[in-house]
């Protein structure tokens, strides 16, 4: 731990991170698993790492999850 947690989090580059292209290619699969309460982070750790680090992909993930949950509701 250090005194600059936000900067430290931002600069940390998780080696498992799969990048935007692969994360977006599998986003629908990942979202269905999350919506079903499945172990999405365990099954797809590279996508989970990416969605934590990439603002735009994280926002697309949240939007897709909200749309799916709206349907279910």
């Amino acid at each position: 731990m250090n005194g600059w947690p936000a900067l430290d989090r931002f600069l940390r580059a998780d080696p498992r991170d799969v990048g935007c292209a692969e994360a977006m290619e599998m986003l629908h699969v990942y979202v269905d698993l999350v919506a079903a309460g499945g172990p999405a982070e365990q099954r797809y750790p590279g996508i989970a790492a990416h969605l934590r680090a990439c603002g735009p992909c994280g926002e697309d993930f949240e939007a897709l999850l909200a749309a799916v949950r709206d349907d279910a509701g």
Binding site: L7, V29, V31
Partner: protein
């Protein structure tokens, strides 16, 4: 429910000698029926068919896509300073383009998710891309400006510790100037210092989200290594959060 209109089995109109459908039914329906939930299978059968049932399905899907596009556009629009009819147009265009992409790529659906989840992804990515293009219409955007003074707020630096973070920021700026390639520096400054959205920067640089993210990924790793070597951050490069 999205599939309510799909109650009867699909019976596409056929002429003698004519193909069974105008557009081939997605192979997933025939080859791995057990993988698909009934609603997804029905979507594929109807969209892969022809006639009024297909038209009704397209209209229903467009309505669903438009609802998502409008919600996302309204949620993200204020950040890009877009509102009113222009924002509504953007949502309509996103829904129309997504519907076109979905019908063109229907045969690529592999049944790994519900059909609607797969389809919704198209419209959300369309909204992101269109908002990225719109960003550059803002009169206050200047890619050349560098406002390093906004970084303390961005990273939550407390005023009481200004003497400490002044040193840290100076070290970060030196590292940006000396450790990054010219292209990495350009991307880092635009995204981190000037707060340009990644999709908008991709439009301006003729690149894409993935390529710029990978560039930033490498830049972040380099900068962290330098700051850690100089004692500003912990010397722990596992990268996992």
């Amino acid at each position: 429910m999205p599939g309510q209109f799909l109650s009867a089995p699909e019976r596409p109109a056929r002429r003698r000698g004519a193909p069974r459908t105008m557009i081939p039914v997605n192979h997933v329906v025939d080859e791995i029926p057990g993988r698909l939930d009934p609603e997804s299978a029905e979507w594929l059968r109807v969209l892969g068919g022809a006639g009024p049932r297909r038209e009704a399905a397209l209209a229903r899907l467009h309505e669903m896509l438009l609802r998502i596009a409008q919600r996302e556009a309204r949620r993200r629009g204020p950040r890009i300073l877009i509102a009113g009819p222009e924002l509504e147009d953007l949502a309509y265009q996103a829904a129309a383009d997504a519907l076109m992409a979905i019908t063109a790529k229907l045969s690529q659906f592999r049944g790994e998710s519900r059909f609607t989840t797969w389809a919704y992804r198209f419209v959300i990515l369309e909204v992101s891309a269109k908002l990225g293009r719109h960003f550059w219409r803002r009169p206050d955007v200047r890619l050349e400006a560098e406002d390093w003074d906004r970084l303390p707020d961005r990273f939550g630096f407390e005023p009481a510790r200004e003497s400490e973070w002044r040193d840290l920021l100076a070290a970060l700026r030196r590292a940006v100037d000396t450790e990054l390639t010219a292209r990495q520096r350009e991307v880092f400054v635009a995204i981190v210092v000037n707060d340009v959205p990644l999709d908008a920067l991709a439009v301006r640089l003729g690149s894409n989200r993935n390529a710029l993210y990978k560039m930033m990924f490498d830049a972040r790793r380099k900068l962290r290594a330098v700051l850690a070597a100089n004692g500003y951050l912990d010397d722990d490069d596992s990268g996992r959060s």
